[in-house]
């Protein structure tokens, strides 16, 4: 083994490093937290090794998997990466392709999100692997994730079958010093097996990050000599040694994320403490405190330990006197999406707002997002809402919103479907020219490739026009007056006969991307001067730079966060700019009778 000095990196980069060292030839991914950094890692290590790996951002996960599959079928070592719900999008090729004999190799890296912290649902990829007979590995640390990436590519190549590496956000986003090896020289042995030998009274089965946490907890509680602990790395197919371990102990507790995959696979009913009998929580992340609670409780019940940790509740008592501001997820100060959502909910407070998945899901705080089902779902839900209301002869404005990356990912068939069937709703495409929430990955429109060079660019308006949309406007959402005017125009257009959906592209580059940083904004914001303390800007607009000064009874601007975009001045009912928009203000009315 030829080692280079270790480097601190996140788990996702460690995975990328392992793949590159194992001779990867093609990588394709769609960004999704917590998986998004693996492809940039592949690009980085390929550059350092002066390799010839083809790496690309795909339009969606299905494209990523099919491209990788094509390469694997024709003899290449390929990988595709996605988050857990992204695997749902890639299901068709996965289910049919899992039985194909590969000429090359295919590794699918799927990162789960216990909690969930940044997804709509928790979902255990390992469970799908067990259901559909796909080998799956569950690493417990960044270092192990890198080793397993190396191992999995070789495993797939040897066995001619696709395999899955299931990471979780705590592994993907943990940081650790990683040894780098010369490509092709790493020696990996799966670190599966007995890690603690403390007799047969209590056996603990662990996998993934839950293993690392359980080891720390057992050590803190002083139980290392009183329990036996088996760490699973290859969750499916399970190894014989694991089954022997399960037989060899009197009681078993299973500490695994996200669902009960090992618990289900091992059976053994009565002697198991797990999710089925309520010892392990059925949902949510297994944090250090949760694991400590589980192990303490069981150790006490079977008489090998006493409750050692008692929380000091004085802390909570002392904190009662302090106000800790809640920090729900918010759009950035100055985000152009906030301006778009303000226009939508100001002009049409009574509308139905089908939303979608991305930064702009956070428009829910402004009352401009009502639904958030799956990527692209907002467009088709809007069509379904329209059908429902028109069946009842109700006319209710429907204002759907979707981001630019999601538009390409999942909205093309839904929009085409809506145009073809003349569904009356307005679709606002919030185009910030990047995939912002997952960390600024390029979109098909930006035309930037995975390694940062310029490639082919596909304009959203060209696609929309191509589908036959008649009402199409492109505007800057910072121009609130124009935005509101256009929303009214769209509604007037939809009132006509035979109209198709109206599409508004609200375009302004994300503030966090390189280009977004160049804009010239106002010198200062005079919101504080005539403030009467009505809080309209705080409650309805929700810019993180605005807070309420309880002593002065006035709004306060945080200079470190404020970028001086001045949009809040249009929200202020006292400010001249705010007053200028009052002509667009919509009323929240009960369901209106049919109009003809």
């Amino acid at each position: 083994m030829v080692k280079v000095s270790p480097e601190v990196m996140i788990g996702n980069f460690a995975i990328a490093r392992g793949l590159v060292e194992a001779g990867l030839e093609l990588a394709a991914a769609y960004p999704g937290t917590p998986s998004s950094e693996i492809l940039p890692g592949v690009v980085e290590f390929n550059r350092r090794e002066k390799g010839n790996i083809h790496a690309e951002w795909s339009t969606n996960e299905r494209c990523a998997m099919e491209v990788a599959f094509g390469a694997a079928l024709s003899g290449r070592k390929a990988v595709c990466m996605m988050k857990q719900v992204g695997l749902n999008v890639a299901f068709p090729p996965l289910l049919r392709g899992r039985g194909k004999r590969l000429e090359g190799a295919l590794v699918i890296v799927c990162c789960d999100d216990p909690g969930p912290q940044s997804s709509q649902t928790e979902q255990d990829t390992r469970l799908l692997c067990a259901l559909f007979d796909i080998p799956v590995f569950d690493p417990a640390s960044p270092k192990e994730a890198g080793d397993i990436a190396y191992y999995a590519l070789e495993y797939s190549s040897r066995r001619k079958t696709p395999v899955i590496i299931r990471s979780t956000h705590r592994v993907s986003h943990a940081r650790e010093a990683i040894e780098l090896y010369k490509p092709g020289t790493r020696k990996v042995r799966l670190e599966e097996g007995l890690k603690l030998k403390g007799g047969r009274k209590l056996g603990i089965v662990t996998a993934g990050m839950s293993h690392a946490i359980t080891m720390d907890v057992v050590s803190e509680l002083g139980l290392s000599n009183q329990v036996s602990l088996y760490k699973v790395v290859q969750v499916f197919p399970l190894r014989e040694r694991f089954k022997v371990f399960v037989e060899s102990v009197d009681h078993i507790v299973v500490v695994e994320e996200t669902d009960s995959t090992l618990e289900m696979l091992m059976g053994n009913g009565n002697k198991v403490f797990g999710r089925a009998n309520g010892y392990v929580p059925g949902a949510g992340e297994l944090t250090y405190d949760v694991v400590r609670g589980i192990v303490e409780r069981i150790a006490e019940e079977i008489g090998i330990g006493k409750k050692a940790f008692a929380p000091d509740l004085h802390i909570e008592e002392a904190l009662q006197g302090v106000t800790i501001p809640p920090r729900p997820p918010k759009l950035c100060a100055g985000c152009s999406h906030r301006a778009s959502f303000h226009a939508m909910s100001y002009a049409y407070p009574e509308a139905i707002f089908p939303g979608d998945i991305g930064c702009y899901t956070l428009g829910i705080a402004q009352g401009a997002v009502d639904t958030c089902i799956d990527m692209g779902g907002g467009v088709t839900l809007a069509a379904g809402f329209y059908d429902t209301f028109s069946q009842d002869s109700n006319v209710i404005p429907i204002l759907a919103s979707v981001g630019d990356s999601t538009f390409f990912h999942a909205c093309l068939p839904p929009l085409y479907d809506a145009v073809q069937k003349r569904k009356k709703f307005t679709l606002v495409i919030l185009d910030n020219s990047t995939t912002a929430m997952t960390g600024m990955q390029p979109t098909p429109q930006s035309g930037v490739t995975a390694d940062g060079t310029h490639g082919n660019s596909l304009k959203i308006e060209d696609v929309v026009k191509g589908f036959g949309v008649e009402f199409l406007r492109v505007l800057d959402p910072y121009d609130l007056s124009l935005m509101m005017h256009t929303l009214k125009d769209a509604q007037a257009y939809l009132a006509g006969k035979d109209s198709a959906p109206a599409v508004i592209i609200a375009r302004r580059v994300c503030l966090l991307s390189g280009k977004g940083k160049d804009h010239q904004f106002l010198e200062s914001i005079d919101l504080e001067e005539d403030c009467t303390g009505c809080k309209t800007c705080i409650t309805g607009f929700g810019c993180p730079a605005l807070s309420f000064d309880e002593e002065k009874k006035k709004v306060k601007i945080d200079d470190a966060l404020c970028i001086k975009c001045g949009i809040c001045l249009y929200v202020c009912p006292r400010n001249e700019k705010g007053k200028s928009l009052s002509m667009f203000k919509g009323k929240r009315t009960p369901k209106r009778p049919a109009q003809n």
Binding site: P6, R175, I213, E317, L319, C332, L512, P544
Partner: protein
């Protein structure tokens, strides 16, 4: 040695850069170290917590009342993460306050915590770079010389991690934070002779 450190603040204010320097300085000194970051869905302005563990532990996660050190880059995040701090642990809080609310103060005395308040935002503002308040905290922290962390080791890692015009400002603010600790800790220690506050 085992050391558990919680870095807490809000997004866009350099919590992750600070914890990066903390983990890398430990690795440079030959320790096994791991970090885990939690930053939720907000790109800016949300709660950010970065946990760093040094030593023999296997996971980067920290349990309630287990952290040796709590570095709070924002006052309200100090309160939110106070349950992590163990008895006798050290806390450094970025705040313009001179004293903490009485009940909190009493709690810290009862739990034998050493807690220092530092107006890191003001220090950074004086140096013309309000975003660098994280460096004032790091500079202050470096004064205590805990484990692999001292002025030299953190500055060296900082120099590797930041480049160009930011480096100079960051170093400036870091040094100012260190000097603040010199003044403040000496004052507190003298006071300790009188009323053994901490």
């Amino acid at each position: 040695m085992n050391l558990e450190i919680v870095c807490a603040g809000i997004g866009g204010r350099g919590v992750l850069l600070a914890s990066t320097i903390i983990i890398e300085a430990a690795v440079r000194a030959g320790f096994h170290a791991m970090a885990s970051d939690e930053y939720g869905m907000s790109q800016r302005g949300g709660s950010v917590v970065s946990l760093v563990k040094i030593g023999a532990s296997q996971s980067p996660l920290i349990g309630r009342e287990n952290a040796d050190i709590l570095l709070a880059f924002e006052e309200s995040e100090f309160y939110r993460n106070l349950v992590f701090l163990k008895k006798g642990g050290l806390a450094i809080v970025n705040t313009a306050r001179e004293v903490l609310p009485e009940r909190i103060n009493n709690l810290l005395v009862e739990r034998n915590n050493k807690c220092f308040l530092i107006a890191a935002d003001d220090i950074a503002k004086e140096k013309g770079m309000i975003q660098a308040s994280n460096m004032a905290i790091l500079g202050f922290f470096s004064y205590f010389g805990i484990g692999p962390y001292n002025r030299e080791s953190l500055l060296e890692t900082l120099k590797e991690r930041t480049k160009g015009k930011f480096l100079e400002k960051n170093v400036d603010v870091f040094q100012a934070g260190f000097r603040r600790a010199e003044d403040k800790v000496i004052v507190v220690q003298e006071k300790k002779m009188e009323d053994s506050l901490w």
